[in-house]
Amino acid sequence: MKIVIIGAGAVGYDLARNLSASDHDVILVERDAEVLAAVQESLDCRFEHASGVSPAVLERIGMKDCDLFAAVTDRDEINIIACLTADRRGARVKVARVRDEDYYVSGHIAFRSIDLAINPDHEAAHSIREILFRSGAREAYRFLGGRVRVVAATVESDSYVAGKSLRDLNRELGDSIALVAAVVRDGETLIPHGATVLQPDDTVYFTGTRRLVDRSLYYVHTQQEPLQKVMIVGANPMGIELARDLVAAKVRVKVVDGDPERCRIASEQLHHALVLNVDPVDTAPLMDEGIGEMDGFVAVGVDEEVNILSCLLARRQGATRTVCLVNRNDYVELLPQLGIDAAVSPRRATSASIARFVKRGAVVSSAQLGFSGAEVQQYHLPAGHPAVGIPLKKLGFPADAVIGAVIRPEGVETPSGQTVLRAGDDVLVFALSSSLPAIERFFSAGPRPS
């Protein structure tokens, strides 16, 4: 499969790495030589030092056989024009990163030849919102347009699930607890099975419908506190979007930024939030604004170090829940030790939504599960597949992998050992990358000999 990515920035890099790792033919186009040089070392794909909007360049790369064209530079207009140009020359699926609301009409991109428009800021803002509203949540994602939710939470020592195996939990709680698709313990990710015992400080990834996941959170984090006051550091598009979301949910919001111009822009977009021109690491004025009494504190500024610092400050003053925007993996691992509750990376949110569009063999889509390092893949079961008609526990599913959700036209089902797969089902598989080839083999198996 031939994939062309325009823009080797953070999003383009992540995407190129994810896709080239799964044996796609990836071509990364970047205009800036320095940026290109920086990524060339660590990526296994073809590079073009050229402008992605140039028709001549696209002609040379060849659009006729291009299966996925992703324009993810940080300029909306470049991305849109590149997609339109690629469309004229026959590229199949076009994806553009578009941040400006003005290019959307009632939530959809206003250009018909663009198949998917992604907005990292919105995706991340949504994720943060989901985390804030759930005490104990560390990460939140939506798959398949929100039909399947994944929420990661830390197991508290006095919680219901601590010290119990998944099999016991399943027997005691039955349908009222969501499936645990992955567990992160001491920095190691594992795909749990029935005998896995949940321990305090484990991070569990609950998978299922929104209702089910929400209910399950009570079993790991008993105290669910209401969210009434939130302070957001960073009056950038993501902060503004998050503030707008929270205000709509009747939360009192204060937005903090050190830059007066950004504050002005934010205040002109936020009717019911208080915008403050304060340096986010300047303690005294933030204390005056009650940083310690916040139910939620979110830092989504450009500078990751400042984000972490201001979260620490908030934590120290007594803010209940702290969420931090970080893209660097090294930092992500540090956060729990620092007492910061959750980390959010817009890059991950973005590359996850683009990867949905990639098809290879029976795989409909593939993405990384947040910071866990586990893979999420969507498979389609055609009629006559050997797995059809057999209960899951007798299926002999590969190790270190689990079917997290079965998607049917009538709804999303959380599978148990008794679940029988049907032809036409879509399944969401959570797996360690080491077991991906085995899963691949499992699903690409031909029709069962009758």
């Binding site: 007066p260 504050c263 002005r264 934010a266 205040s267 002109e268 977009q269 009717h271 208080l274 915008v275 403050l276 021109n277 304060v278 004025p285 604004e289």
Partner: protein, 482 residues
């Protein structure tokens, strides 16, 4: 300033007014009151002067802001001068000062009269008084929604986006388009009120005259005791409803006619306007009930609502002499005179939206004390208001206050008592009509000295044209060639 192009437009306006004088001439002829000739002579004079100016002037390809100010201010005055002519010629109003006062009061939809005995005037004159209101109202709707926003007067740009109709780049087609739409609404409402009043029992002549005066928020009645003369609750309620409508933004009416009724509810100004009316009515009703001024509750509420609505919309009809009401009523009505109705309506005063912006600025200043680092933006109708615009509004209110103070001081210097001076200034600057004290609803402006009348004529024009439009002409720069 391109004076010749201004002169040309003035000539056009005079010509139009002269043509409209044919209507009262026809009314006079029909009723045979013997005043038709005075209207015809005035029409001839107006037509001749208009034509002369029109041809003396030059066609300008582009009328700029300076010319716009001059046309609006001088135009209204010139039309008033012509409008007073037939009143004076016919002998129905002796003295040209009084006649001009009456005509300007009509065209500015003020409704302040110098007549003691209205009922003994001829039909032609009574009709002309009502018609000046109606024509003035037409001018104001377009002025407020199409012209002043383009000139950037007193924060009127706030409503630029609210104005229906396609947005053209050039000024003229846009004004023409907008004017047609809004006049459609205006004519429709006038016809509706005329029909309603006739059903309630008024004669066709009275119904038309009162509808003209209501929709323009003028207030000239054909009766000495104004609307109170009919002692007909139905008529009073009809006038309450229609003057309320005339006090609202006509752009909202236009949207409603096109099925977008929610435009009313979503408008901040509309909601605040209704809120003011409800509170004022309640306070007046309680004050009246306390002294048992009216025999029953319905009469109390009706009279309170009528006075509140007629004053806040700056119509100025009356069903009662509110000077006999408790003092709190005087204060409230005086405040309502200053506030006035909504922008884009035919009413005068500061306008509800400016009061709203003022309150919001005050609130945000207080908030800044609690949050010294807060970066605040003013919101109106879910849109951010630029600080520039807010300053514009503050400037307007300040200037309004200064002119007001000047008026009170000038009139008291001449020996009038404080209540009369305040009432007369508020009533003319706000284009209300009846004031307080010696110019209260039961009296008139006839006894004032000539200089006082001319001062009030200027006030009516200044208030009508949103202050800036007139005052800007006192700057020498306005008259220099650009």
């Amino acid at each position: 300033m391109n004076l010749r192009s201004v002169i040309r437009v003035l000539g056009f306006l005079l010509g139009g007014t002269a043509a409209s004088l044919l209507l009262p001439a026809a009314v006079s002829a029909i009723y045979g009151d013997g005043d038709a000739w005075s209207f015809l002579v005035s029409a001839a004079i107006g037509g001749a002067v208009g034509a002369a100016l029109h041809f003396a002037g030059a066609r300008a390809s582009n009328i700029g802001a300076r010319e716009g100010f001059a046309v609006v201010a001088l135009g209204w005055f010139a039309v008033g001068l012509l409008g007073g002519l037939p009143l004076c010629l016919s002998g129905q109003i002796p003295g040209y000062t009084d006649a001009v006062f009456e005509a300007v009061s009509g065209f500015t939809t003020t409704g302040a009269t110098i007549l003691t005995d209205i009922e003994s005037r001829s039909h032609g004159v009574l009709f002309w008084r009502a018609l000046t209101h109606w024509l003035g109202g037409m001018g104001i709707v377009v002025l407020a929604l199409a012209i002043l926003p383009l000139l950037g007067v007193g924060g009127m740009q706030l409503f630029r986006a609210e104005v229906p109709g396609p947005v053209a780049e050039r000024l003229t087609p846009r004004i023409r388009q907008t004017a047609k739409l809004l006049w459609g609404v205006y004519v429709l409402l006038t016809a509706a009120e005329t029909a309603a009043l006739m059903i309630a029992g008024l004669s066709f002549f009275d119904a038309v005259c009162h509808s003209f005066a209501t929709l323009a928020t003028g207030g000239y009645s054909t009766r000495n005791a104004s609307v109170g003369a009919y002692a007909n609750p139905a008529v009073e309620w009809i006038i309450i409803v229609f003057s309320l409508g005339a006090g609202l933004n006509f752009a909202l009416h236009y949207l409603a006619l096109h099925g977008r009724f929610r435009a009313y509810v979503r408008d901040d100004e509309f909601r605040f306007f209704l809120y003011l009316i409800a509170v004022a009515t309640a306070v007046l009703a309680v004050a009246l009930l306390a002294i048992e001024y009216y025999p029953d509750l319905h009469a109390t509420i009706r009279h309170a609502a009528f006075q509140v609505v007629t004053i806040i919309t700056t119509t100025g009809f009356s069903t009662a002499d509110y000077l006999l009401w408790p003092p709190v009523a005087h204060v409230i009505l005086l405040l309502l005179m200053v506030v006035g109705g909504c922008t884009g309506s035919t009413s005068g005063g500061i306008k509800v939206v400016r009061l709203l912006v003022l309150l919001k600025v005050g609130k945000s200043e207080l908030r800044k004390l609690l949050h010294p680092r807060a970066v605040t933006t003013l919101w109106f109708n879910d849109r951010a208001v630029s600080p520039q615009l807010a300053m514009n509004v503050l400037g307007f209110v300040l200037l309004y206050g200064l002119v007001f103070v000047f008026g009170v001081v000038a009139l008291t210097l001449g020996g009038r008592d404080l209540l009369t001076a305040t009432g007369a200034t508020a009533a003319t600057l706000g284009n209300v009509g009846p004031g307080l004290g010696d110019v209260g609803p039961a009296y008139n402006y006839g006894f004032l000295l000539a200089w006082e009348k001319w001062l009030l004529i200027v006030f009516m024009l200044v208030g009508r044209l949103e202050i800036f439009t007139v005052l800007v002409l006192f700057f020498p720069e306005a008259w220099r060639r650009s």
